[in-house]
Amino acid sequence: MSLLRVENLSIHFGGVQAIQDLDFAIDAGTIHSIIGPNGAGKTTLFNLITGLYRPSAGAIYLDDVQIAGKRPHDLARMGLSRTFQNLRIMMNMTAVENVMVGRHLHLNTNLLACMLRLPMIVRGDRAARKRCIELMDMVGLGADIDADAGTMPYGALKRLEIARALAAEPRLLLLDEPAAGLNERETKEIDDVIVAVARSGVTVVLVEHDMKLVMGISDHILVLDHGRKLAQGTPEEVRNNPAVVAAYLGNV
């Protein structure tokens, strides 16, 4: 049984067909990459899977449960988490607080308990902070714990998004261009993080332009072009697929 299955998925904005009749499946415990030229519909696909967009047609299954049209926070509860290509950092909060928002689902959110600051809230927050600091250490942000998010550089914020997404302890993690704008060393670090995350049992879906990263860590690759599936398979298969070479890799 696949963890995520997409069937006949389509969405159009006005007259623009952003995703057309897409089918694919993702097995648990793998690193799965989605590649394709700009405008191929990769981020749109993420937005569909995480409930930000409602598909015009088709279905999305998580563990065989239809999830298309569900609200994002319900999907988060079902184990979905993601990062954003254009950073969505809470600039009004500190770095660790950003990560702690990611921990939301695992905390006591009873308003009355929070208003009175009951001991269980204090304990919960202390444990959450500890856990979030571990995650920040993991993505290499150990020195920025209490920094204002607004003062941190781009590369650090990219990693902060990953830590925030991990704080939810997702089963399926969608990373939208985690290496974009990072230098080679930082890309290597992110690479290590992704592999480590996958090894811990989280299924990772990656949208990425960095072919070295994609080819190096992916178990499976899906190639999109103009909202349609162009090819899929192992990195080896995709690399040798003439259609992919012609449409995409040939230009790299």
Partner: protein, 294 residues
């Protein structure tokens, strides 16, 4: 004519009359909003200034056309100063801060008017007398015709201005994309200034037109401003057509509501309607319904 029809016609006529005023005020909101994304809560004070200054000039023995010209000119000057001194320095501040600045300006202008011109109620003489005209059994005041005619003329002029002149197109371009407009060589600050001047002009004219019917007073701008804002929102913020339709609709609904339901709640009608519309259409009647890009 059956009396029920005459009654309806009467309500519609008075509704369209006040609706035209709301439309002018709403156009002022839309103009400034488009150029700067600021909601100018001092828009109602422009209306008040138009009426009050005209009254003062008339009382000094100045002829009506000259008094009107003077009042419009002075109000525009106030609009330009407001932009230059209070809006331009903080253009990128957040929405709430900007709202409070314009409200501060409104309070200041009200205070200034009450100190210099007093707190009394003044009625302007109607432009063409008070002889009611008969329209299929209903009556209409000549002043209403002045209001409708002037509003129509202004709408026409604005249409020509925005669609057929370079300056008008520059303002539209700025409202769509400020950065792109700047790159195209448009002086964005000048556009901003111009939008405040134009809004003040519209407000002053509205205030002068309505003053013979409802009389003018230093606090007359509060309700007119709020209703103009409601009309602008009703039509969809930033849409010129929306502002006009929103204003007329609001005037008609208010008049029908006051006539058939309860005159006590005349002032509440506009806000009940706007709440109802916003619940069903969160972007107003003609507002852009954008999908947020993620």
């Amino acid at each position: 004519m059956p009396p029920a029809f005459v009654e309806l016609l009467q309500f519609l006529l008075s509704g369209v009359t006040s609706g035209a005023i709301y439309a002018l005020v709403a156009l002022g909101f839309a103009l400034i909003y488009n150029a700067s994304h600021v909601i100018n809560f001092a828009q109602g004070e422009f209306v008040m200034l138009g009426g009050m200054v005209t009254w003062v000039l008339l009382s000094q023995g100045i002829d009506l056309p000259l008094a009107v010209l003077g009042a419009v000119g002075l109000t525009m000057l106030v609009g330009l100063l407001l932009e230059k001194l209070a809006i331009e320095p903080v253009r990128n501040a957040n929405v709430v801060t900007l709202i409070i600045i314009t409200i501060g300006a409104a309070i200041f202008l009200r205070g200034l008017t009450s100190v210099t011109l007093g707190k009394d109620l003044h009625a302007l003489p109607a432009f063409s007398g008070n002889e009611p005209l008969d329209l299929m059994g209903a009556t209409i005041m000549p002043q209403s015709l002045w209001i409708l005619g002037t509003t129509a003329l202004i709408v026409l002029l604005l249409h020509v201005f925005f669609n057929y002149t370079l300056l008008g197109k520059a303002i539209l371009a700025t409202s769509h994309n400020r950065l792109a407009a700047r790159l195209m060589g448009i002086n964005v600050n000048f556009v901003l200034l111009l939008s405040f001047g134009l809004s003040a002009l519209l407000g002053a004219i509205a205030g002068i037109l309505i003053a013979p019917i409802t009389a003018t007073h230093f606090e007359v701008g509060i309700m007119l401003g709020l209703k103009g804002f409601a009309a602008a929102i009703l039509g969809g913020l930033g849409s010129g057509l929306g502002a006009i339709v929103g204003g007329l609709l609001l005037g008609i609904i208010e008049s029908l509501g006051a006539g058939y339901i309860s005159s006590d709640y005349k002032d509440a009608m506009a806000f009940v309607v706007i709440l109802g519309v916003l619940f069903l259409m969160p972007s107003g009647l003609f507002g852009k319904r954008g999908t947020e890009r993620v």
